[in-house]
């Protein structure tokens, strides 16, 4: 995991530059420096489980019947949501 943005201290001085690799040593230094939050590269893990997300997806589409093109939109969305989760959490057979 790498820093997506540089980390500044309270006076605005850059302490760690963008791209710094977050090692254990680095994390413990940050903890001692009272840094409340930082940006890391990549998309944050979704707060809901994939099963829940997919259930909500079905729920949102429940009023959609045979309207044209909605099946393809739902399919793309389902695959998109699945791609946000690590591979081992995705269903093995689709």
């Amino acid at each position: 995991m790498k820093l997506a943005k540089s980390v500044q201290n309270e006076t605005g001085m850059t302490m760690f530059g963008e791209g710094t690799v977050l090692t254990e040593q680095f994390i413990s230094r940050l903890q001692s420096m009272n840094i409340p939050s930082l940006y890391v590269e990549g998309t944050a893990a979704p707060s809901r489980s994939m099963e829940e997300e997919l259930l909500f997806l079905d729920e949102r589409f429940k009023k959609i019947g045979e309207e044209p093109h909605m099946a393809i939109i739902k399919k793309i969305m389902k695959e998109h949501i699945e791609s946000l989760y690590p591979e081992h959490e995705r269903p093995t057979a689709s």
């Binding site: 949102r60 009023k63 044209p68 739902k74 793309i76 998109h80 946000l84």
Partner: protein, 275 residues
């Protein structure tokens, strides 16, 4: 209430205390070559809090000029008056948007980022303009809720109880929906037709005569963001896409996947931009 009464009330929404005097003044300004952008920049710059938020927003990676815009007049030159005007309005209504409907800002912002991404894929000259119209596409909801709070609450509960789209519930309570209301406002604020049509016709893209492509993009982005379930736009349902719009935009599956991924990446970053 009839449509004219509704319109009269809606059009008064810019007198809200939440809209800073500078933005209020700017809303009545027309984009014209005789206007000096530097002078205009100086007027905006007098409101420091607003200026700081604007510069933070335009310098974020989602607008394509990261770290390069250092003054309001530069933003005006690069993005144009209408985009800056729309962004300032978006920033000003952010809090009231969240108060109106928890999650509406997130929905609007995601639609904006996705619309820009689709506009770029379709090779539009002014992707920022499409983005701003998407950011403001539900401004009519804010106006309706602000001016007719109880009636709007009634529409929200009808939508929930009957499991219908918020726009259909609005039409049970009001003579028209938020899309028309947003259209009136953007006309009153002297926005160009390229911004008015996507706001007014984001449910009925085939009605757009002057900006059909921009309107089609905002319509699709709205459907996709609702399908993805980001934020809250008044109901938890996906509206059907307009089939002709879908066919005319002719996005490939990989276009859509990439645009969606761009949205996921940018939205997190954009969320703390205005705070």
């Amino acid at each position: 209430m009839n449509a004219q009464q509704l319109r009269d009330q809606i059009e008064q929404v810019d007198s809200l205390p939440t809209i800073p005097p500078v933005v209020r003044k700017l809303l009545s300004t027309i984009d014209s070559p005789t206007l000096s952008l530097t002078e205009l920049g100086n007027v905006i710059s007098k409101d420091q809090a607003l200026t700081a938020r604007l510069l933070k927003m335009v310098n974020s990676p989602i607008y394509g000029f990261p770290g390069r815009i250092s003054s309001v007049s530069q933003a005006l030159i690069l993005l144009g008056l209408n985009v800056v005007k729309g962004m300032l309005l978006g920033i000003s209504v952010f809090e009231i948007m969240e108060k109106t409907m928890m999650g509406l800002w997130e929905h609007s912002l995601s639609t904006a980022v996705l619309a820009r991404s689709i506009a770029m894929r379709k090779g539009l000259n002014e992707p920022e303009e499409v983005m701003v119209s998407a950011l403001l596409h539900d401004i009519g909801k804010v106006a309706m809720k602000t001016k007719f709070s109880e009636d709007y609450e009634a529409a929200l509960s009808i939508s929930e109880k009957e499991e219908i789209l918020i726009r259909d519930a609005e039409e049970k309570v009001f003579p028209l929906s938020h899309a028309e209301a947003g259209g009136w406002l953007s006309k009153k604020w002297n926005f160009p037709v390229t911004l008015i049509e996507p706001i007014a016709y984001h449910h009925k893209p085939s009605l757009a005569k002057n900006a059909p492509l921009q309107t089609a993009i905002v319509h699709l982005a709205d459907v996709l963001v609702r399908a993805r379930g980001i934020g809250f736009a008044g109901d938890r349902l996906v509206p059907a896409v307009n089939p002709r719009t879908w066919e005319e935009l002719a996005l490939t599956e990989s276009d859509m996947r990439e645009a969606l991924m761009t949205m996921e990446d940018s939205v997190q970053e954009a969320e703390d931009l205005v705070i």
